[in-house]
């Protein structure tokens, strides 16, 4: 298959004395959708936050495009083409929709931004209608679209999405997953963390199951969808 974009090996992350991530290893290849599923507190978000540079690992290696990025500050890692759309959206509520998107392209030169904004508007027409509004006035679903659009603005080679469906109505969840599918078709590599295991596995090429800081199972999306232990633990029997 194609090249490995992200390779995480034997990662250990602590919150003070609490050992949150215990020797996690996984990889994402160019063009794939990979998902990490697991219960609350399994370490999914911690893993993404560590890869993005917001948290520092105690030991272990993280290689992105063959370059070690473990322990690098987050603002440098974005520059290399790795974007995280964080849990809880975290759009800038007091900035306008357009300004949020501009911030997403902070690492790029201003002259290229206009074109990328148009592309994001194509993907999320709703954002175009509201480009002048401050993000705090958007609905939850619109804020999620903005957060994803903002992450895309850095032209990432790998986009990490943390719980993009959290707190959204079922119809919006479907819409968000459709967009993830579209992004993938357009060639974006995606690392997806989800509580909604069924939908995540259905869209993913490969998946890893996290349990209390360890990877306990891995396989293709459809393999895990039909795996008995996964069914029992995450898909409601």
């Amino acid at each position: 298959m194609s090249d490995t974009l992200l390779k995480v090996d034997d990662l250990n992350v602590y919150y003070g004395n609490i050992h949150a991530i215990k020797g996690v290893s996984f990889e994402v290849k160019e063009g794939e959708i990979v998902t990490l599923i697991g219960a609350n507190g399994a370490g999914k978000s911690t893993t993404l936050n560590t890869v993005s540079g917001l948290l520092k690992p105690r030991t272990g290696t993280i290689e992105f495009c063959g370059k070690s990025i473990a322990g690098m500050p987050a603002h440098r890692i974005v520059r290399d083409g790795l974007a995280l759309c964080p849990e809880g959206r975290r759009v800038f509520l007091q900035l306008s929709v357009k300004e949020n998107l501009e911030m997403g392209a902070y690492t790029r030169s201003m002259s290229e931004v206009g074109e990328s904004i148009e592309k994001v508007y194509e993907l999320f027409p709703r954002l175009k209608e509201r480009y002048k509004q401050v993000a705090g006035t958007l609905s939850g679903g619109e804020q999620q679209m903005l957060a994803m659009g903002r992450a895309l603005m850095s032209k990432p080679r790998l986009m990490m999405l943390d719980e993009p469906s959290m707190g959204l109505a079922p119809i919006l969840v479907d819409q968000i997953f459709d967009i993830i599918g579209d992004l993938h078709k357009a060639g974006t590599t995606i690392l997806l963390v989800e509580q909604n295991a069924r939908k995540a596995l259905a869209v993913a090429d490969r998946a890893y199951v996290l349990e209390t800081g360890r990877i306990v199972n891995t396989g293709t999306g459809s393999e895990l969808l039909h795996d008995d232990s996964v069914k029992k633990a995450y898909l409601g029997g």
């Binding site: 987050a74 995280l84 964080p86 007091q94 939850g140 707190g167």
Partner: protein, 290 residues
Amino acid sequence: MLNYLISGISLGSVYAIIALGYTMVYGIAKMLNFAHGDIIMVGGYAAFCASSYLGWPVPLCVLFSMMVCTILGIVIEKLAYKPLRNATSLAVLITAIGVSYFLQNIALLIWTSNPKAFPNMADFVPPIKLGDITIPSVTVITVAASVIIMIALTLFTGMTKMGKAMRAVSEDKGAAQLMGINVNATISTTFAIGSGLAAIAGVLLCSAYPTLMPTTGSMPGIKAFTAAVLGGIGSIPGAMLGGILLGVLEKFAQAYISTQLSDAIVFAALIVVLLVKPTGLLGKKITEKV
């Protein structure tokens, strides 16, 4: 009457410039830099030394003073505040008060407590005569400077990439980092701007009230902080409005009520405003959707 109004606006404009510095730092770094008033004092001394000892022309003195304060602001932020980035706001506040006393005592060591006679650095502009009222040149310059600074800051935070990044940092440091924004550099820049403004305020303050002492900055600092809160801390036009209102109120209280009570009246006004509108006159309530 009109004279009091003019001197009130003049004093208020100085408060406004100081308050703009306070509000910038508070708005972006979310901390109250209580040493801000003492940076003004250092700015005053820097300009004084450049002018009286070195005999430099006014523009050079002002530039020198701004440079000294900008560097001082960055150094203070690096040494005193940056290590406390994740500490409680109370710890940062106490540190800021500590920095304030530190600067005052350093100034005491270097320049002693004897007041220095500050030269008027604004008299390159002729005073304006309106009938039988004369508006002194320092007033003209101060008002003009405060308006220009307010407009420049508004444009800077609203239109430029750096300014928008500052607003992003003020809201969510983590998310700002994920955008590729260097949070530490951004906060440093904020301090540099705030301290540069403090230098301008120092020169104007000392030009209007020409006794320079190590404690020169502390009272105007507190008043300007009051002005920033009155106008709604974090808001740029709020700092301007609060400053002018406070200056005018102080001068009128001095003229018509009591010189001794004027400070008490000023702070009483703050309390009343905060009781009625806790976010200040132009402060906005932040609405959050989670």
